[in-house]
Amino acid sequence: MPGSLADALALLNTEPGVWKPFAGGTDLMVLLEAGKLDHRNYVNIWGLSELRGIAVTDAHITLGALTTYTEVQAHPILKSEFPMLCQAASETGGLAIQNRGTLGGNIVNASPAADSPPALLVYDAEIELISTLGSRWFPYNGFHTGYKQMQIAPDELLARIRLPRRTRGASHYYRKVGTRKAQAISKVCFAGLARIDQGHIEDVRIAVGSVAPIIVRCVETENTLRGEKPGAETTQAACASLSREISPIDDIRSTAQYRLQVAQNLLTDFLSTLET
C-alpha cells in the first residue's frame, strides 16, 4: 500500500514485474479468487489521489486512470461531447461495478470484450504512461498489440487518458449487444462517429469489440466510407470491408457467424442514422 504515486513507481522500478498494480479490483479479484493470477504481490493504487480527477481545457478532457464508470457518467462535458463513453460506462456491469471499476483498469486489463475501448478509440484517445523515468503520451490506438498484449513496461503505470474535444457536430452511435442488459459481457460492441458534409460522409471513425484478439479500429471500413454518400450501395461496400477487418471466433458467449452478422447489422444501423 504505497502512500503516494512516487512510492508506487519506485516500487515498480525496484522490482519490475514482481508487483502487479491493483485498482478497483472488479476484474482482478475474480481471477485472484479463481487462482488464475500468477502474481503474488499486488500494489494497491486505489488510494492514489494523483491518478484521480477529470481536468478540462479548451482542447482536451483528461481523465485520471482511476476515474470510475460512475464518475464518467456524471461528468457534464463527457455527457455532452463524449456520449458514447458515458453510455459504455452505464452499460458496464451494474451500479456496484460502476462505482469501483476504473477506466484505466478497463484499458490495461486488455480484454477484447471491454466496453469502453471502442468509444475511446473512436474519440482518438491518447494515453499517458508514467514511471520513475518520466512520462510518455501516445495514441491509444496501437497500444494493444495482441490478445492481452500491450505496449507497457513492467515499471510503468497508466496514469491518464486524454480525449481531444473535437466532436462538435458529429453523430455518435454506440451499441453493446449482450445476453442481458446489465452485468453482461458483450458478444459484439460497436462505436461509430461521423460527420456529414454536404451529403457526404466526413471524418468517419469506427471501432468494434469482441470480434478480434483486440478491440479493432476499423480503418479499412472508414476508408471505404470516407467521401461517400450514405445509402444502400455505400453500406454494402462498408459491410464487405468490415468482414475483412474483423476475425470473430466461437466461444462461450457467441459464435463467429453471429458476431459477424451482428457487427454488420450494427454498421448498417449506424450508417442508416446518417441518411437524411
Binding site: M1, E33, N44, W46, G93, A96, A182
Partner: protein
C-alpha cells in the same frame, strides 16, 4: 496487517491478510452474516454493501482497500429498533422469497432512494440491475421499492 474501519457506525479493527475479501472479513471475523455470498465474482449483487456512500460488491473488495472507510451492511439499515421503509415494504409486499438476494436488494434500493427519492420504474430497474434474484421475484421487488418511497 491491521485494518481499521467503521461498520454500521462502530469503529472496528481487524488483523488479517490484506487481499482477504471484505465479504469474508464481515462474515467470519465480524460475524455480520447478513451479507450473503452468491456468485463470488461480482455478477449477482448478493454481497452488496455500502462503502463511503456507494454500493459495491464486497466479494471484489480486498479488505486493505477499506482502511479508514465507513461501511453499512444490512445489519445497519434499521435504526433505533425500527425497520427502514424499504425493509418494511419488502415484508409487506412479498419482496423476499428465499432471502439470499434480499440483503443486497435492500441495500441497492436504499442507495437508489437516497440518490433519487422518486425513481421511475426504469430508474428502479437500473438501480437494481446488478442484483439477481433466482426466485424470479422481480415484480414484487420493484413494487416493494415503489411502496417504500410512497410512504
Amino acid at each position: 496487517m491491521q485494518i481499521n474501519f467503521k461498520v454500521n457506525g462502530e469503529e472496528r479493527s481487524v488483523e488479517g491478510f490484506p487481499m482477504a475479501r471484505l465479504l469474508d472479513v464481515l462474515r467470519e471475523q465480524l460475524h455480520l452474516t447478513g451479507t450473503k455470498e452468491g456468485c463470488g465474482e461480482g455478477e449477482c449483487g448478493a454481497c452488496t454493501v455500502i462503502i463511503d456512500g456507494q454500493i459495491v460488491n464486497s466479494c471484489l473488495v480486498p479488505v486493505a482497500q477499506v482502511n479508514g472507510s465507513e461501511i453499512t451492511t444490512i445489519e445497519g439499515v434499521a435504526s433505533n429498533g425500527e425497520l427502514h421503509a424499504v425493509q418494511q415494504a419488502f415484508i409487506d409486499h412479498g419482496g423476499a422469497q428465499c432471502g439470499i438476494c434480499t440483503p443486497g436488494m435492500v441495500l441497492a434500493a436504499v442507495d437508489l432512494l437516497k440518490r433519487n427519492p422518486q425513481p421511475t420504474e426504469n430508474d428502479i430497474r437500473n438501480g437494481l440491475a446488478g442484483n439477481l434474484c433466482r426466485c424470479t421475484g422481480y415484480m414484487k421487488i420493484f413494487e416493494s421499492v415503489v411502496r417504500a418511497y410512497q410512504k
